[in-house]
Symmetry: C2
């Protein structure tokens, strides 16, 4: 077991301007301060961080009372708001786990209502120092934008990880739960960016994983939950809807059956007896072969609510995934449209879910493609708790062999105006609870971690893990700001390093999009493993993922004339997508069948656009490699070697994408490249 | 362990005309007649067969001397030629394991030079009876056309079978060699059709299989070899060229290294000490990742000869496969041609192999496609022992879920005139040794057996196993005659059964060809498992198997303008293939890139031909099903059920092929079907 510290490695910062403020630390209003308490964790972290970065031994005064702190001496004050003296703190408008980081005279104040808030404030201060930003006269008030900021791990109990590209699981090995130093370092990493909930096992719950909620594993899970709790993180597990049958010995799993409901109640009672702070369940039901309420002619609401009612006495949540579609489609069927499935399955259930149920909705209607429209459930559902699900694991975006910085994609999703209300409602507003006043809501992401030395396979993929947490905390942050923070924290605040890595990260998603499937059509990958080009790989398969390319053009007609999918959006979005002239071009082929000779707004034909972007994408990768080579001497040698190995794989793969796509469409269209570049015949 | 008797089930024949001849049996000139002797086996088989089919208890007189047999009483005489009285038998022109079956007065004589010959004569008599053919005045002299008539089993020691579609291995289980009743029944089945050599393990020799030639397994192999010997069959194994390293502890496997040569000598000496009648080795070297002499810059001849010299003292053979090609090809490379590989690799070695080495050459240059030209090594090699390899296992021809009677395909191969000599030389002439006087030569086939109840997965696939043996014995037999024999032996000699099953079998290969890849282009299957349609499945892959379809046409140019493959044939074949006008149309796309609007000899365009054959192929399957339904009452119910289940799968699959191929080419060509049939867009 060998791993690095990720972005919490606390490399030395030379000549930091504001060291005076940092040599002493006072605690105020902190009741619990023992190992195991979040504040204790946070203070220890801050002391270590300051020592690591600035070589200062911080003196900690844990008995601090406001009035005893000398007002003419420098020092950090960590203070927890006293709920009995609400008026003293009201001016700061702290909400939930928010924090205030503010210089007040000789003091640098970190103020919060909760222990977690204190920890988040501490990490904000650490980021400032790592970025070599002055804290002189700092004043930052941050309240989390999303109540829930979750990670979903698709780890299996045999140690494998579904769609894992960073080694094996560090949660499971040989059907046992693993708790060790790495558990703590993992919690520390993700807490530092604001994660407050973790689902540790694969949503496809099979075999032993079904038993995670039984005595067989609860003891070990308690150990893990305690470590997580030290960092303000709640432990969740993916549960098997058929558990009453598979491990309960019942003959059915009908959510309206009293025996089933009682079984769940009993099961959940035992879970909470073992782990009082347990978060709840993530459920994938009636999807891709997983069991669910459909078997009993029950609805998803019936299915979710039976669990919710059993969890409710303990404050537990049910997170119910909306990734439900027909995965036995016939390619000859032009009417069934997988894109429609989540909306069609769930919109009729709006308002029917209990208050501790949250629907977890993938960002797009398909499955984490490099480019998709947003799910029309956002802006459709009005009386249902919602959580946005994104995928940090690069299943369809290069599998951590390609650099693909995904924050800009998620930003676009969050910023999308659903027009759910006349004055507008961005997805960020909806999932945060701002639009409809929900409290059980937020964001979830499929993690990209594993037991690789660098946690994420590709060193630069850590930016996505880091960035997801930061974005879920504060959806207003820009992709650039997040990337810069991560670079400073991980490697260096020096301009050259920051600029070059920033260039690479910001170029990476557009580059990947350019050299893979064009204009929102998606897929064109090798079936099953989802890596590398295969234009017809899914074209005649049962997964509902078609491009319909012929000798004249390609694309799926999802207008009223076609599958009608565009009509699932609110106006004016529906009309925008419906009309080829107003449809955003990056989604043109998702919504329309388009001829190769169709003129894009650039003046290029569709086919020439395909050729151009594919040549450009490869050229972009070459640029990224050059940028990276330039900072060789400024980053650790092992990082450089690992990243360069992956860049070599990426470049090969990008060329393969370019050539296959170009050849495929040349063979179909017969149109020569306007610039006479090499297209294989 | 439960299985049927295949074509040796000896069902009752009512009203057989010539029962008188069969009630008594005399043995003459037989020296060895104990359990374990082939003659003993043969006599027992004949007695059982006559009893089973005709309900007669045959009285056996084993002390028979010609002069003591009453010349006025009916009886069968089984006589082995006395080599000391050659002149007495010279008139019969018996060669090798040939036999004479002849009525002489009151006697039915089965005469042979060898014990095996007697057995083959016995099985000929059994076939006559099963087919309800009179033996009155019968006179059949048959000498085997091919000295070696082998089966290759691709069985792995874990019990799986590479490209096995009939269950698991009955030779291996859990890394152990299995010898039981089924071993004997297997030997009996294949001996009855003339097989005299069997390779029991996969040509890809890995892990434990490398140790088959060591003490660990030789004891058990001896038991198996003894059973085989009772039926005139020699046991061979596939060996690992790297065995000197993998199990010998040497640092290399260089065939010119003395230590390596000595290791093989020592190893082989021990093998023959354990199994004196051992046949030798089958070797797949330097192919698809298997080790071979290339590692040491040695030739295939060097590699084969080192083994041959170690085997020679014991009469052992090395069968060396010519399936050698570059399996890391780039689809962008239009010059490398997998079809050229076997010829390019081996033609320069002609005459360099020892006399106990045989090159085993696949029928075509690619890999057992539904249609390929013959390998140009046949007619190219002149001073090298050669064996024709065909595949009974239906890897690319429906995997025993589709009926595909392959004898007609093999007949075409055998009848192909290579023009190796001015007067012509068919492949049947070359591999039999007739053209160049070789003695170590013949035919080999990848078996289609497994531990399924019916041995071959599909009941009708047994016709291919049966037929391969019969054809290897007598390459002059017609496909119809072989099929009729198999039907009579297995089910019934009744006209309706024979006619309907014959129709099905003879229709099956053409039907499969019609609904799968057109005009010799091959492939278009799902990668790896090779079942079901996937037009572009291999098109951009590394296997050298491309169709090069674009919007104007498809096909691979293998003329001088293209890869030059056609030039590997002798004239006039080279020119025949080179010229699109004289190229046989069933191979048109193998040799030429052809436009969709090219007019075939039928007057149809290529694209219309593709549509038509795909509609016809499905219709042929429907015809086959109707034919089969008509004989429901005349065949065993379990057979009917099993075959109908497979027919349902075949029909589904045929429709999928039809629709995918038609849609694929419609999308590329844009040409409508002339008859307006349903082609999905």
């Amino acid at each position: 077991m060998c791993y690095n510290k990720g972005w919490l490695n606390y490399h030395r910062i030379e000549h930091y301007p504001d060291v005076d403020l940092l040599s002493k630390l006072y605690l105020c209003g902190v009741k619990d301060y023992l190992p195991g308490d979040i504040t204790f964790t946070a203070v220890k972290e801050l002391v270590n961080a300051i020592n690591g970065m600035l070589n200062i031994d911080v003196e900690v005064d844990i008995q601090g009372q406001r009035e005893l702190i000398p007002s003419d001496k420098y020092g950090i004050i960590i203070e927890r708001c006293n709920p009995e003296k609400e008026e003293e703190f009201a001016e700061y408008k702290l909400v939930g786990d928010g924090f205030l980081l503010k210089q007040c005279g000789f003091h640098l104040l970190i103020l919060a209502r909760t222990e977690s808030g204190i920890m988040y404030g501490v990490f904000e201060l650490i980021r400032r120092i790592a970025s070599n930003q002055s804290i002189n006269q700092v004043e930052i008030l941050e309240n989390p934008k999303n109540p829930l900021r979750m990670l979903n791990h698709w780890d299996n109990m045999d140690g494998s990880i579904e769609r894992g590209y960073s080694g094996n699981s560090f949660f499971f090995e040989d059907k046992e739960v693993v708790v060790n130093d790495r558990t703590k370092d993992y919690a520390r990493l993700i807490a530092s960016v604001g994660i407050n909930g973790v689902v540790i096992n694969n949503v496809n719950v099979r075999a032993e994983a079904t038993e995670l909620i039984t005595d067989r594993y609860l003891g070990k899970l308690k150990e893990m939950a305690d470590i997580f709790a030290n960092y303000g993180i709640r432990l969740f597990v993916s549960a098997n809807f058929a558990a009453p049958m598979e491990i309960g010995g019942l003959s059915l799993a009908d959510p309206l059956d009293e025996g089933v409901a009682n079984w769940w109640k009993d099961c959940i009672r035992k879970v909470y007896e073992a782990i009082p702070g347990f978060g709840g369940f993530l459920i994938k039901a009636d999807s891709e072969g997983r069991p669910g309420p459909f078997t009993y002619n029950r609805t998803h609401a019936d299915g979710a609510n039976v669990l919710a009612r059993a969890l409710k006495p303990y404050g537990g949540l049910v997170v119910w995934r909306c990734f439900v579609y027909n995965c036995q489609q016939d390619w000859r069927d032009y009417k069934t449209d997988r894109a429609r499935a989540a909306y069609d399955n769930f919109i009729g259930l709006d308002g029917k879910f209990d208050e501790n149920v949250i629907l977890q909705i993938k960002n797009g209607p398909m499955d984490f493609q490099v480019r998709e429209p947003v799910s029309p459930l956002f802006g459709g559902l009005k009386n249902t708790n919602q959580m946005l699900e994104v995928q940090i694991a690069q299943e369809y975006t290069g599998q951590q062999r390609h650099v693909c910085y995904l924050i800009p994609m998620w930003k676009e999703v969050l910023d999308f105006n659903t027009y759910a209300k006349p004055e507008g409602a961005k997805i960020a507003d909806i999932v945060s609870g701002r639009t409809y006043g929900q409290v059980n809501c937020g964001m979830a992401a499929v993690a990209n971690t594993g037991n690789d030395y660098n946690w994420t396979g590709h060193d630069l993929a850590a930016a996505n893990l880091y960035g997801y947490g930061r974005l879920a905390w504060n959806t207003d942050m820009s992709s650039e700001a997040i990337a810069k923070e991560w670079i400073c924290m991980t490697y260096s605040y020096k301009d050259k390093v920051v600029n070059n890595l920033l260039q690479i990260l910001l170029k990476s998603w557009p580059a990947y999009e350019k050299y893979t499937s064009p204009l929102g059509i998606g897929w064109m990958v090798n079936p099953n493993n989802h890596y590398g080009p295969n234009v017809d790989g899914y074209e005649y398969d049962r997964w509902g993922t078609y491009h319909r390319a012929d000798r004249n053009g390609l694309g799926v007609d999802r207008t009223k004339e076609g599958t009608g999918y565009a009509q699932q959006y609110n106006e004016p979005n529906a009309s925008m997508y419906e009309n080829i002239e107003t449809c955003p071009e990056e989604l043109l082929l998702f919504f329309h069948y388009v001829r190769y000779d169709y003129k894009l707004k650039s003046g290029k034909t569709l086919i020439q656009h395909i050729y151009d972007t594919h040549f450009e994408g490869v050229s972009d990768v070459e640029d990224m490699i050059r940028s990276f080579e330039e900072i060789k001497s400024m980053i650790p040698e092992d990082v450089y070697q690992r990243v360069m190995e992956r860049f070599a794989m990426q470049l090969d793969s990008a060329k393969e994408w370019r050539d296959r796509i170009n050849t495929y469409f040349y063979r179909k269209s017969g149109v020569e490249d306007a610039y006479g570049r090499k297209i294989y015949k």
